[in-house]
């Protein structure tokens, strides 16, 4: 390869092999591929396969093929649809809340000021708190009689008695959403801060010269400038809320009271280990996976049409 051509190629770009095709790339990927195959791909395939069987967790050898029965049962089960509804509400609110809180925080942290490092660290800290700890603390905060939240609410006269947050369906869902947003919004802060920093100052200067006020600057410079980050962020938040924060719900309410906070991923777990129906649980879990794939696919297609230059 001519030296000039080599020097002109950008860094990280694929280079034509200079000797015989090396086995190195494949070798380097071998440990990861083996591990993922063994621990991720095979179990997932087993799960999907199991969804066509009737399996009791206590007697794994006894597997009866039932075809689409599990799915039929799922489609006609009131619990399934209830969980779907809860999942939809939960995911939508957590993503919206996490994003908004993240945006406000990122905008506040964007300009340099003294103590910004400390402020930024504090803002992102909730992410480092283990889920079980977060649930414990927030359950204490939400405690009916001695919790600090009810104390504040009573002090300002918003309620007359302590609200039994975790004992009613609606309020329990609110509680679970609050904890989830608290845990997840640092992800939004991190990505939005980076996105804000990528917006060129010149654009703001130009807008100011044109007489744009603060809100207009946000609407015409900041918001469009954040488009690529928003693209990835909404998807990421959505997936995290959909599949990753199940721990919070399980530990805080166990899906209750009366399935009011039971999302589909949680139902998967409960059907398997509480109700002992591995086959049916696999069917529910598989539908979660399919839903996630569908929504992600739709989302990316839609996003790419709105933002052809941004890539996920």
């Amino acid at each position: 390869m001519a030296p000039a051509a080599r020097a002109a190629a950008p860094r990280g770009a694929p280079r034509p092999p200079r000797r015989r095709r090396s086995a190195l790339p494949v070798l380097l990927l071998l440990p990861a591929s083996t591990l993922l195959l063994a621990v991720l791909v095979i179990p997932i395939s087993v799960a999907i396969y199991s969804s066509f069987f009737d399996i009791n967790i206590l007697n794994l050898a006894q597997q009866t093929f039932v075809g689409l029965d599990n799915y039929r049962r799922m489609a006609t089960s009131a619990d399934f649809w209830s969980a779907l509804r809860v999942t939809a509400i939960y995911t939508a609110v957590v993503v919206a809340g996490g994003y908004l809180l993240g945006l406000v925080t990122a905008l506040l942290l964007h300009r340099p000021f003294r103590g910004r490092g400390v402020a930024r660290t504090l803002a992102i800290m909730p992410w480092a708190v283990p889920s079980v700890v977060a649930v414990l603390v927030w359950t204490w905060i939400f405690d009916t009689n001695y919790g600090v939240l009810n104390y504040v609410l009573r002090s300002v006269g918003a309620v007359s008695k302590g609200v039994p947050w975790l004992e009613h369906g609606g309020s329990a869902l609110v509680a679970v959403i609050v904890v989830s947003v608290w845990s997840l919004y640092p992800v939004a802060v991190t990505m939005l801060l980076a996105g804000l920093q990528a917006i060129s100052e010149d654009l703001y200067e130009a807008a100011a010269v044109d007489g744009a006020g603060r809100w207009q600057r946000f609407r015409y410079v900041t918001w469009p400038g954040l488009a690529p980050v928003n693209l990835v962020l909404f998807l990421l938040l959505g997936l995290l809320a959909f599949t990753r924060v199940v721990t919070i719900i399980y530990v805080m309410t166990g899906g209750g009271p009366g399935r009011a906070t039971e999302t589909l991923p949680l139902q998967t777990y409960l059907e398997a280990f509480k109700y002992r129906e591995l086959g049916y649980a696999s069917a529910v879990g598989t539908s979660v996976l399919v839903l996630a794939l569908l929504f992600s696919g739709l989302y990316l297609r839609l996003a790419r049409r709105i933002l052809p230059e941004a890539r996920a």
């Binding site: 860094r11 770009a13 694929p14 090396s22 790339p25 990927l29 071998l30 440990p31 990861a32 591990l35 993922l36 621990v39 095979i42 179990p43 997932i44 799960a47 809180l101 925080t105 506040l108 300009r111 000021f113 402020a119 930024r120 660290t121 803002a123 992102i124 800290m125 480092a128 283990p130 889920s131 079980v132 700890v133 603390v137 204490w140 905060i141 009689n145 001695y146 600090v148 104390y151 991190t190 990505m191 801060l193 980076a194 996105g195 603060r214 980050v229 990835v232 997936l239 959909f242 599949t243 199940v246 991923p265 777990y269 398997a272 280990f273 591995l278 696999s282 979660v288 992600s296 996920a312």
Partner: protein, 282 residues
């Protein structure tokens, strides 16, 4: 931009800014953590009402109580084994994979982002069911290192993606130069690329550590006997005791949260750059 904001709006706007900032940060982010620690060192009985916002005097009894009431030391040890094991294994596997995806992007690299995305869509609760079966058959149930394998598999895709971003920012020219001098590609990686990406590798390591430290579902399902419990499972078992022992539980929670928080504080800057380098640059 600060020059402009100083001209506009003046004092009122600055005050509003600070008030908003303090509200958002203090109340939203820090208060629960503060409250956890404060409630655990408060000498007032937890049944005092109204609650004491600034505990005085300080009292470490609940820590003593927590340590004698529950086998926290053992849980801590188990958690440490799992987290360190997961971090090391994840780093080794992901560094190799990241090098491959960064330096040989043609075949696999393009599908790789999609692959990472798909792995993020897999609910842990779906995975846990067959894992329970498969691990059971292999005799890996109730083994800490079975948990290490599970946690590692879960973090490898994201870790590889982040490391790819870090490796991408190390110029290929340096490796090329070394190879011109007679180094093999692998040697160039080991001598040049990896050492230059050390801050990024450390950040990813911290990330893996944090994820596995607090991981719950795999730990709950794959490790069955009490003596192998990790902290997340142990603390979850407090559920039935909510009525009586809040300060002790919060003391245990504080001890559980301390290592990741400290690690996070030290590594914070590096980690945030890693998480975003992949996202913004693509």
């Amino acid at each position: 931009m600060s020059a402009r904001s100083r001209r506009e709006g003046g004092v009122a706007s600055r005050i509003l800014f600070w008030v908003a900032l303090v509200l958002v940060l203090a109340i939203v982010a820090a208060f629960p953590v503060y409250w956890m620690v404060a409630s655990s060192v408060s000498s007032a009985s937890q049944f005092t009402y109204p609650p004491q916002f600034f505990p005085h005097p300080l009292d470490l009894d609940s820590y003593r109580d927590a340590l004698t009431r529950w086998p926290i030391g053992r849980w801590f040890g188990n958690t440490l084994v799992v987290s360190v094991g997961t971090t090391l294994l994840s780093l080794v596997v992901s560094v190799l994979a990241g090098l491959s995806v960064s330096r040989f992007p043609s075949r696999i690299g393009r599908g790789f982002s999609a692959f990472v995305l798909i792995t993020q869509m897999i609910p842990a609760t779906l995975l846990v069911v067959p894992m329970y079966i498969v691990f059971g058959r292999l005799g890996l149930l109730d083994q800490l290192w079975g948990l290490v394998l599970a946690d590692t598999a879960f973090s490898v895709p994201l870790a590889t993606w982040m490391l790819k971003g870090f490796f991408d920012s190390v110029p290929v020219d340096l490796e090329e130069a070394a190879m011109v001098d007679g180094c093999s590609r692998m040697r160039a990686f080991a001598r040049i690329t990896v050492p230059l990406a050390t801050p990024g590798i450390a950040a990813v390591g911290v990330f893996c550590f944090l994820i596995s430290w607090g991981e719950f579902f795999f730990a709950r399902t794959l490790v069955t006997s009490d003596e192998h419990w990790v902290l997340s499972v142990g603390l979850n078992s407090f559920q039935g005791e909510y009525v009586t022992q809040w300060s002790s539980m919060l003391a245990a929670a504080t001890m559980f949260a301390l290592p990741p928080l400290l690690l996070f504080l030290f590594a914070q800057r590096q980690m945030t750059s890693g998480l975003t380098s992949g996202a913004v640059k693509g």
